[in-house]
Subunit: 341 residues, 2 copies
């Protein structure tokens, strides 16, 4: 066979053209696995390469979405990938993932690559705010896109966001309700919008309780475990606090390590509260109290919005609410001997 | 501008055609950021879509590689992604990642998708052994590919593998050297080759020391934390062992939780050894003793082999050696009162 067509494949597999077309377009619900495999085998045997461009011209769709994440090593993002992929698959789209490694340069390259690959839409979880180049790329490419979380963009773009300020506020309220007054906070990088919001929400809660957060009790981290470990170890050697708010769970892990090495018991001598509720955090002992964002559902919602935008050209912003998850790492301190909450 | 060429872009940006070409082909080393941004801006402004196919016809390369991983939620795989991406970028390739979610159906779909997208090569970290359809797809697509780890394929395919049997053997030797004789093992799924090898290596070490591993001390898990937690909790309620070998670190986390809830102290009353050395494991207290595989380097090596295969058509198999990393979760038991190792 020289120029193989969809007809030839249908004849060879003993199925209808519609069946072959359904397999090619990932619309296989209700088809027996046997039929599907048979078609796939013939497709491979004859080395049929459906003309992506020709197909796109008919369906106007590649049925492929792109997702750019800033740091695949933070377990927050695999959760996002899972949610995004499940939702994409439910709508018969495939998802390809690109890791920008917190580098603007890579983010721009991947945006270009996804455009060249003619994805139908892009979910962009940017390093932080969109760069001017990003914005231009997205505007000019005319590919529907959705912004995820990092990099609040006012009302400019449709996307899925978390109310980070409220999250920080909840963390502050919780520690205050437990009677803590000597509190430190480890933030993400100074210039990252999400981190600023978490801190300002936290400060607001403290201010409402007429408590202060001295400048020297605000430690600037980078959302990574090891840096938080170093910062916390140095800080805890020289300062007396009864509670620490870590602006993400990875940094809370670093504080656990530091406390462990200094012989400081959690939560008896030090309460710790994190942010994110990443899946692996359940492995920590004592279990971490944290501000949860439902990353999986946020990933699903983001793809839902994206597909809606692709198919109906309308756009939307959705803000998720964080919730306080009380576990074992925070404790009441204003009673003698300490009483569990 | 109606039909924009690379010449038009060079003129508009005030740079040479070579410079534009370098930007398009991601060969930007030594170029000032300013120049690069200028070219990118013009490209976006004129909405220049380099004809991917035409470019491929000239360079015969899309400079894009595909990576399929079975489960992005296991922190083992993000490490692989990072290594693979760094190596790909060093050679001016981009990497797109697909998550098959341990489903053969998705694996096959993504293989087809990557082929349609005309990637230059594929790194496949399969669920386990390659399916017949997988093999046919890879054979017929004529795209260079490399197998990663799961699914040992004898000498059939080039790839990067771990000596899993040796890893299991090292774990057994370590526990024996510490005086343990009552030992249990939590494995991965029964039909997964890697898990079988880890178990058989472990059994070999015990056999050499004239120790047995009773059938009822082999718990069949699924490489996930929660299942291991359930299994370990039930098991530890009803059996007395002094050590457990978990066939991956995630399952070791589950054993930690179970021991914690049952009031069993690690390592004083129970030694635990894991497998993988995933990055987040350093957050566990006490720190986990484990069998380390250098996932990041394995990812790098796999892409190195893949690019070599793309550019020189030669193929190779590389087997990595695991190493024992002694931390705090295993302890000598044959002395009264217990002595730290």
């Amino acid at each position: 066979m020289d120029k193989v067509t969809i007809k030839d494949i249908a004849r060879e597999a003993g199925v209808s053209i519609t069946t072959v077309s359904r397999v090619l377009n990932n619309k296989e619900e209700g088809m027996s696995n046997e039929t599907r495999e048979k078609v796939l085998r013939v497709i491979e045997k004859v080395n049929y390469q459906p003309n992506q461009l020709a197909r796109s011209l008919v369906t106007k769709r590649s049925k492929m979405l792109g997702l750019i994440v800033p740091n695949i090593s933070n377990p927050f993002f695999p959760e996002l990938c899972r949610g995004a992929e499940d939702e994409a698959n439910d709508h018969n789209y495939s998802l390809i993932i690109c890791n920008s490694d917190d580098q603007l340069h890579k983010e721009e390259n991947y945006l270009r690559l996804l455009k060249e690959q003619q994805v139908d839409g892009i979910l962009l979880s940017s390093k932080d705010q969109l760069s001017e180049t990003n914005k231009m790329q997205l505007r000019e490419s005319k590919i529907p896109f959705i912004i995820f979380d990092r990099g609040e963009e006012g009302n400019q773009h449709s996307g899925v966001f978390l109310d980070n300020e409220k999250g920080g506020y909840l963390a502050g309220q919780h520690l205050i309700a437990l009677g803590h007054t000597q509190i430190a906070c480890i933030t993400g990088p100074k210039n990252i919008h999400n981190s600023q919001k978490r801190l300002s929400g936290f400060q607001l809660a403290l201010k409402e309780a007429a408590l202060g957060l001295p400048e020297e009790f605000i430690l600037t981290g980078d959302f990574k475990m090891d840096t938080a470990y170093q910062l916390a170890k140095e800080f805890l050697k020289n300062n007396r606090v009864t509670a620490i708010f870590a602006c993400n769970d990875l940094m809370a892990c670093g504080v656990y390590q530091a406390a462990h090495e200094l012989g400081i018991r959690i939560p008896e001598q030090l309460s710790i509260i994190g942010f994110d509720d990443i899946p692996l955090i359940t492995a920590l002992i004592p279990k971490l109290t944290t501000i949860r964002q439902n990353t999986y559902e946020m990933g699903r919602k983001a793809i839902e919005l994206l597909i809606h935008q692709i198919e109906h050209e309308s756009s939307e912003r959705v803000v998720f609410e964080p919730t306080l998850i009380v576990r074992e790492s925070t404790k009441q301190i204003n009673k003698v001997g300490g009483v569990d909450i």
